[in-house]
């Protein structure tokens, strides 16, 4: 692999037998032991992911709150200090720039975590919307490493390594300067798997020892190092969107069923006008869940059809390791979106039968 960036855990991936691939310009493991065993470990015990490729941007200054409130679709005025919120950044036309986590450290200090493949675009978008806001924007993505410890045993494992009482870190809250086996970290009770867990941020030079310590601490509980392969199957089962699949510059959050994270009653935010208009006019496309009735696995990009006419496309599809079924998400014409409808998915030029089902495939197992 040439011209790919390495995370600070690159050597650890080799050491633990990771199968490293080029992922959005980063050399990262798609799997260690296998996507299915890793997926199952996260659902039943715990898994540890290197997500250092994610981007981090600091927003500091007296207008930090106002700047972020204008930048994202969700209403951050309800956030307490050290609370975290899921939100989206949109273009004026309502298409999505990226989805992100907003960490509020204080009213003049926010920490934004964005997708690896979008870091540069996002940062430019932030800079171009800085306007009169009195803030400093700092892209610290290359200085920060991140690991995600996910699964029902996450707290039990992490508690062995810290004096901080993890019960105090509630769902979608964070805590700074937590010492984990002596290493200073930012931790949050967040994740991308549908399970309880923590996302842990630290300096590049500390992360490899932290990685080893967490895996060591979790042996008894059955922890596994996990690759990006199962990260995708896990987030898919939990109906968590992926940029480039369920959302993109051509798909609005409303079409993707993420209206809960778009507060149209907010005074203003980028894209508000277009989204208000889209809502008033009614959605022409909707994201639906479906289950294959004929034998075949739906894949990202496959077309959906009814009576031989194309009505949309598959945004993500898999053999679901937890449900043991072939299921998918598709963005289709709203008139066909009702649960129970029969649609076809075109698999290798063959229309295969599928049924529209509730897209909440897996009941999230969060500790709230």
């Amino acid at each position: 692999m040439e011209n790919v960036k390495e995370t600070a855990l690159f050597a650890s991936h080799e050491k633990y037998g990771g199968k490293v691939i080029d992922f959005a310009g980063w050399a990262l493991p798609v799997q260690y032991k296998g996507i299915i065993p890793e997926h199952e470990a996260v659902r039943t015990a715990a898994g540890l992911f290197d997500v250092s490729h994610m981007g981090e941007v600091e927003v500091i200054g007296e207008d930090a709150f106002a700047f972020v409130q204008n930048l994202v679709t969700n209403d951050i005025s309800v956030l307490e200090d050290n609370q975290v919120m899921y939100a989206l950044m949109c273009y004026e036309d309502g298409g999505v720039v990226d989805d992100l986590l907003v960490y509020k450290f204080s009213k003049d200090y926010f920490y934004l975590v964005v997708n690896a493949s979008n870091v540069d675009k996002d940062f430019q978008c932030m800079v171009s919307n800085k306007g009169e806001f009195n803030i400093t924007l700092k892209n610290i993505s290359r200085e920060v490493s991140e690991v995600a410890l996910q699964g029902p045993k996450s707290q039990e494992i992490l508690q062995k390594l810290t004096d901080t009482n993890l019960d105090e870190v509630k769902f979608f809250y964070c805590k700074r300067d937590v010492l984990i086996s002596g290493v200073k970290c930012l931790i949050s009770r967040t994740g991308y798997t549908g399970e309880d867990g923590f996302e842990i941020y630290s300096d590049n030079n500390n992360i490899a020892s932290l990685w080893d310590k967490i895996l060591e601490a979790g042996i008894e509980e059955g922890i596994m190092p996990c690759g990006l392969g199962c990260r995708d199957t896990l987030r898919f089962e939990a109906t968590l969107p992926l940029y480039g699949n369920e959302i993109s510059k051509d798909i609005t959050p409303l079409e993707a069923g993420l209206g809960f994270f778009v507060k149209l009653n907010k005074e203003r935010f980028i894209g508000k006008c277009a989204l208000v208009k889209q809502k008033e006019e009614g959605l022409k496309r909707k994201l639906v869940g479906f289950e294959m009735k004929d034998k075949g696995i739906p894949r990202h990009g496959y077309e959906a059809a009814v009576n031989g006419e194309i009505i949309g496309f598959v945004t993500t599809g898999y053999y679901s390791p937890t449900l043991k079924k072939n299921i998918g998400l598709a963005l289709i014409d709203a008139e066909y979106a009702e649960i129970g409808n029969c649609i076809h998915i075109i698999v290798r030029n063959k229309p295969l039968k599928a049924e529209v089902i509730n897209k909440k495939f897996y009941n999230k197992n969060y500790k709230k």
Partner: protein, 128 residues
């Protein structure tokens, strides 16, 4: 990586085993490892006729779908239903769990394939 001596091999990581005028075809141990957990296999109908180089089926891992090619001309006389029902069998033993069995006539096509030794070397060169 396991390579069996008595089989013939292709650059697409399929193997061919001859039994009189029948040829069993499957994918190699190298292929199953590279694919990872196999979750779906699609095989052709019995009696389908193929020419060398045709895609005869599809093998899907969690992440992706891959075509499987037939390296010789032949007519399908049997398919292995067991691996359609339980695709993971191919991960367990790629040589025992064949995919299709064809009637073939062109011996020269088979002899043009790689031997076990040649295939081993080919795999090593793929890794580099």
């Amino acid at each position: 990586m396991k390579v069996l001596k008595s089989l013939f091999y292709t650059r697409e990581h399929e193997w061919v085993k001859l039994e009189e005028d029948k040829a069993y075809i499957g994918v190699t141990d190298y292929a199953q490892k590279a694919l990872g957990d196999i979750v779906f296999i699609e095989l052709p109908e019995v009696d389908t006729e193929f020419a060398a180089g045709d895609g005869f089926g599809v093998i899907e891992s969690v992440k992706a779908a891959s075509d499987i090619y037939i390296p010789i001309d032949g007519k399908v006389i049997e398919i292995n239903e067991a691996i359609v029902d339980e695709p993971g069998l191919v991960n367990e033993n790629a040589y025992e769990n064949w995919m299709i069995c064809v009637e073939y006539s062109d011996k020269a096509q088979v002899e043009a394939l790689m031997s076990a030794e040649e295939y081993k070397e080919f795999c090593i060169s793929e890794e580099e």
